[in-house]
């Protein structure tokens, strides 16, 4: 089987995903443009060598609409021969784009590709483009769809995770992120964003909240959902009738905020890399995709990781570093407990509670962080597992070469 190598991984800083964010004034296309430019500048390939460019993007409308990947390739002056596409697997989109490209390369249908993700919620709000799963009353009630926050509360209730654990986890995430940022851990992979006059807009992750402390976070009100909680509880209890009620745990302090950002990876087979003089950073060992009950979507991350580890014939102890999304604090707590991971092996440079989540780019962002982290710590094997809406999960295991 052809092995797939990661030759480079770049990402923009994560900007606040609202109108107060530094990247609000930037077109989503420009975020991709910066990443594409960085990839071609940092590496020795001609753009016509790229067989395909696959992009995860969860709200592909407006500024991100009409196949934003192909648009970005044209905008960035890449060869007209490079095709582009956009996919959606919610939070796992960016990771899935990389898996898809890797799969094509493994199959021998291509030898060098670009994959990653983009999301600019400050510019394209998801709530303006809702699909049937969250806005069609017939579908919602038929399939028992509940808001993600409620689903995270359900996870915490089912596994006796309490508010204090979640809050402590969130504070640790902020702490790790701030420490990593100060130490310059991401300097290698972050592509600063400039305007057309080369005036700097943002060169490091913007969302971090290093001053938050335990009293502040403990005093925050739970937020999910502000409305309709009783109704969604009914839907959830239909599937989990052993619970008396679903407790509320999540606050603005212990969930991942929305963020703007893009991340891209250059990947190909060994032969092509050698021919073009590219330096491989890591190889992809395994990838997996799973789905389970959508009303408890966050099991997806754990299940995907278990499946990938098993498929790769590895053991939990064989993985040196783990990255997973902390869309809601309970996910991180549950993930960590499930695999009995020490804090310095899970989201070691901080998690999405601190960085925020550019939803479509999330997987590619985490891959870039993991790669950085493995290189920095001189470790070998790493895993990214993402819990996605709809009960899905995606995972990828990489190994430094």
């Amino acid at each position: 089987m052809t092995e797939v190598y990661i030759y480079d991984a770049v990402r923009t800083p994560c900007g606040k995903g609202d109108t107060a964010g530094a990247l609000f004034q930037v077109k989503p296309l420009d975020l991709l443009n910066r990443c594409l430019k960085a990839l071609s500048n940092r590496n020795t390939f001609e753009t016509e060598h790229i067989n395909d460019a696959i992009l995860g993007c969860v709200v592909p409308f407006g500024d991100q609409g009409d196949n934003v990947m192909k648009t970005a390739l044209l905008y960035s002056g890449w060869s007209k021969e490079v095709p582009g596409m956009q996919i959606n697997r919610f939070q796992a989109s960016g990771l899935e784009a990389i898996s898809l490209a890797a799969g094509k390369i493994t199959a021998g249908w291509g030898d060098l590709m670009i994959a990653g993700g983009l999301e600019s919620p400050s510019r394209v709000r998801r709530s303006n483009f809702r699909g049937a799963i969250s806005s069609d009353p017939n579908i919602i009630n038929l399939i028992g769809s509940i808001p993600s926050g409620m689903s995270a509360d359900l996870l915490a209730t089912l596994h006796n995770i309490d508010r204090i654990e979640i809050d402590e986890y969130a504070l640790a995430s902020q702490d790790k992120a701030f420490t990593a940022q100060k130490a310059g851990c991401f300097d290698n992979s972050i592509i600063p964003i400039y305007d057309q006059n080369n005036i700097l807009l943002l060169n490091q992750d913007e969302v971090l909240n290093p001053t938050i402390h335990s009293e502040e976070i403990a005093a925050m009100d739970t937020i999910f959902p502000k409305w309709g909680r009783a109704g969604f509880e009914v839907a959830a209890l239909k599937k989990y009738p052993l619970l008396e009620k679903i407790k509320a745990f999540h606050t603005v302090g212990n969930i991942a905020p929305m963020a703007d950002g893009a991340a891209l990876v250059l990947l190909g087979n060994k032969e092509k890399g050698k021919k073009l003089g590219l330096t491989a950073k890591a190889k992809i060992l395994m990838a997996s995709t799973v789905s389970s009950d959508l009303s408890i979507m966050h099991l997806g991350g754990v299940k995907a990781a278990e499946k990938a580890i098993q498929q790769a014939k590895l053991k939990v102890k064989d993985i040196d570093l783990w990255y997973t999304n902390e869309s809601f604090g309970a996910l991180g707590v549950y993930f960590q407990k499930h695999f009995s991971l020490p804090a310095n092996r899970l989201n070691a440079c901080g998690g999405t509670i601190a960085f925020g989540e550019p939803i479509g780019a999330l997987g590619a962002m985490l891959l870039s962080m993991l790669l950085n982290d493995l290189e920095r710590q001189g470790l070998k094997r790493g895993l990214i597992s993402i819990a996605a809406e709809g009960g899905m999960g995606s995972c990828m295991i990489i190994e430094i070469v």
Binding site: P137, W227, G228, G231, V234, A235, K238, L242, E244, K245
Partner: protein
């Protein structure tokens, strides 16, 4: 049948006056009669000799409609869709002649009749508190199907339309004006026609908002982000309020959402398809059977003893100003009946007046009565501490504390005062009427009137016939209950009468499940999901565990040597005697009670009743909790505690909240299939005990090929 009159201003008045019937009715059969009129009007319009149209009626009602009987028996989707199309097209033509049409609503316009009013450009109703307007279809598990849903969507927006269609209220004109389903009210019939004409003279062209280019739905379509948030909320509320057991609520929301995304005529098709689907839904059939056929049967008096003249109570006495007495007082006052409310002292009696005043104020504030009406109604209430004040009463209802001695005393005192024709009623939940009647000098005029708490909300009253209660008394009690617009069911004077006896089986089954090792949360969740208003354990707490036990002890006496001890008894004894937890009233039961917080299951319950079941079959548990009630109700039929399926069904839904979508306890069997039900009984009997034995009445019905 439709009179045509044209005045000098070229305004045509069409007066509906259907021959040979009391009410004007529109349905798929007679809407063709309008065709030539509409064609004629279109011709006049072309000639320029038509300014506007007024539609009104000379009958008591404006127009009512629908043909539930036809819909109930038609089982072909194409036929139903076609009839809805025909009506829909007629309404479309009505709003299309190019001139404005005003509905001058002089009487009730409900259901399909109101759909026609909505198809007029302007609606003016006579300001009378007797008139009712709107869409009550939801009470039969239905929705409008000929444009009513989509027109309300376009006139009022998605949210308001949803609430109007799902609350099923029949609005009085002023309230209708407030909610926006009519445009004007008129003080008199003459004013109404003048206002209609004035409006028509002021109009140039008649184009409905949905036929205008650029016309928009108020609040936006379902694609609008703000509306999406609203829809998510409505969807969640729907789950909470119905447990998704009521397809009509869902269909209405779906129609509004889908209908907002397409053009008006396509939206009408969406509405008709949902309507058709609903008509064919078995739950709709159940609800039509019970809330139309059974309800009407009781209204017509199938259970009222024949041959006695109508009793019209003018003045009612109520003894006891507690929550039951106050509720009964209010129900009488609301219907304009004079009430003398007595308690041990005047200040205590005044509490009942205060309650009535508050209830009237609530109704005045939401426009179901006027402030003036509220004041004059309250004038009909006298409070007293003297029994003498009952001397002019046609009926006295005793609603004192549930104690035989106190009740007997009240009976004796009252009989000394009231005249020989007056009725004496007792509101009791557990003391046999025949026993209480021993204190009466005239037991033939003495009857049980079992109201349910909260009296103003529960539409059911059990009329309990004691051994000596005369048929005439029963007939009069029936008339009284109808006079306060409640549903009377006549029950035998046996333990728990009907409602409490059957309800108790649900509670006992829930307690049994706990004893079997199922977790309490599961029992409560599944009870709610099965369609019951509360979990079985919550019901037990509300009723008090001692009362639950008492009913079961009465059952033991009733069945004598044939009695088989219910497995729940042991648990109830442990709870009440060993653990001292008797229910909500004492602040501890299966639940824990903290002031101002919603109750939570007792945290130590699992220590006393170990959870031993590792897996569960939700369907079977839900079925068990419903089956026990159904079987007990069949025993009640067999033992003639109730005498008709209509009473048993309505009594179950209104009395203790048996799921309305099932059509009631006995309709449940019809819908389940008699053979299948009997078979399942024997399965459960083997697994869970003899309480699941099918009563012999069922087997007899099976032989005779009958259903309830």
């Amino acid at each position: 049948m439709i009179k045509y009159k044209k005045d000098t201003d070229n305004i045509v008045t069409l007066t509906i006056d259907m021959k040979g019937r009391q009410e004007n009715v529109i349905n798929h059969n007679n809407c063709d009669l309008w065709r030539p009129i509409i064609d004629h009007l279109q011709k006049e319009k072309k000639k320029g000799v038509l300014k506007g149209i007024i539609i009104t009626s000379t009958k008591k009602n404006f127009l009512e409609g629908g043909d539930l009987e036809y819909l109930y028996t038609t089982k072909e989707a194409e036929k139903i869709y076609e009839l809805a199309t025909k009506l829909s097209q007629f309404f479309r033509d009505l709003e299309h002649p190019g001139v404005s049409v005003v509905a001058a609503i002089n009487g009730n316009a409900l259901g399909l009749g109101f759909e026609m009013a909505l198809a007029c450009h302007h609606r003016i109703a006579l300001d009378s508190s007797d008139i009712r307007l709107g869409h009550p279809e939801i009470s039969f598990g239905l929705m409008p199907g000929s444009g009513g849903v989509i027109r309300l969507l376009w006139l009022l927006g998605l949210e308001k339309a949803f609430h109007i269609l799902t609350n099923g209220r029949k609005y009085r004109p002023r309230e209708a004006l407030k909610v926006g389903i009519i445009d004007e009210v008129a003080p008199t019939h003459k004013d109404m026609l003048e206002q209609a004409k004035k409006w028509l003279m002021s109009q140039d062209e008649a184009i409905r908002p949905w036929d205008k280019s650029g016309g928009r739905i108020p609040g936006g379509t379902a694609n609008h982000p703000k509306t999406i948030r609203l829809i998510q909320q409505l969807t969640a509320d729907l789950s909470k309020n119905t447990y998704n057991n009521y397809p009509a609520h869902q269909s209405i929301l779906d129609t509004l959402v889908e209908g907002s995304k397409v053009d008006f005529d396509t939206a009408l098709k969406v509405e008709r398809r949902q309507f058709t689907q609903l008509i064919l839904h078995p739950k709709t059939s159940n609800m039509i059977k019970t809330f139309w056929y059974d309800y009407n049967a009781i209204k017509k008096g199938i259970n009222r003893p024949k041959g006695f003249g109508k009793f019209r109570p003018k003045e009612v006495g109520v003894i006891g100003a507690g929550r039951m007495g106050s509720g009964i007082t209010f129900c009488c006052i609301k219907r304009g009946i004079k009430v003398v409310l007595k308690d041990v002292s005047k200040p205590i009696a005044e509490l009942g007046k205060k309650y009535t005043k508050e209830q009237l104020a609530v109704r005045a504030s939401n426009d179901t009565i006027t402030v003036q009406e509220a004041i004059s109604l309250l004038d009909n209430l006298t409070t007293t501490e003297k029994t003498e004040n009952f001397k002019d009463c046609d009926l006295v209802i005793e609603a004192v504390y549930e104690n035989e001695m106190i009740k007997s005393k009240a009976i004796k005192e009252t009989e000394k005062i009231i005249d020989e024709y007056a009725l004496l009623g007792t509101n009791t939940i557990s003391i046999p009427i025949t026993k209480l009647a021993k204190s009466s000098f005239r037991p033939e005029k003495y009857v049980g009137l079992h109201f349910f708490y909260p009296v103003e909300d529960v539409p059911l009253v059990e009329i309990v016939k004691g051994k000596d209660t005369s048929d005439e008394t029963i007939a009069q009690a029936f008339d009284f209950v109808r006079a306060i617009r409640k549903i009377p069911i006549i029950v035998k004077d046996a333990w728990g009468f009907y409602a409490a006896r059957v309800q108790n089986t649900y509670i006992l089954e829930g307690v049994t499940l706990l004893q079997e090792g199922y977790p309490a949360a599961l029992i409560e969740n599944l009870g709610l999901q099965a369609g019951m208003p509360k979990g079985a354990l919550a019901f037990a707490d509300d009723m008090s565990l001692k009362m639950v036990l008492k009913y079961e002890q009465q059952a033991a006496v009733h069945y004598g040597s044939k009695y088989v001890a219910h497995p729940a008894v042991a648990t109830l004894v442990t709870m009440t005697e060993e653990l001292g937890r008797t229910g909500r009233f004492k602040g501890n039961g299966f639940y824990e009670y903290v002031k101002n917080e919603s109750r939570m299951l007792w945290s130590e319950l699992g220590e006393h009743f170990m959870v031993t079941k590792e897996s569960f079959d939700s369907q079977e548990i839900m079925e068990r909790m419903l089956f026990v009630q159904v079987i007990e109700a069949i025993w009640c039929m067999q033992e003639k505690v109730v005498n008709s399926a209509a009473e048993a069904n309505l009594g179950s839904v209104y009395g203790w909240g048996f799921p309305a979508f099932s059509g009631g306890v006995l309709q449940y069997v019809n819908s389940y299939g008699l053979d299948a039900f009997i078979k399942k009984c024997s399965v459960y009997k083997k697994k869970y005990g003899p309480r699941f034995s099918a009563p012999s009445l069922l087997k007899k019905m099976q032989k005779e090929g009958k259903e309830f």
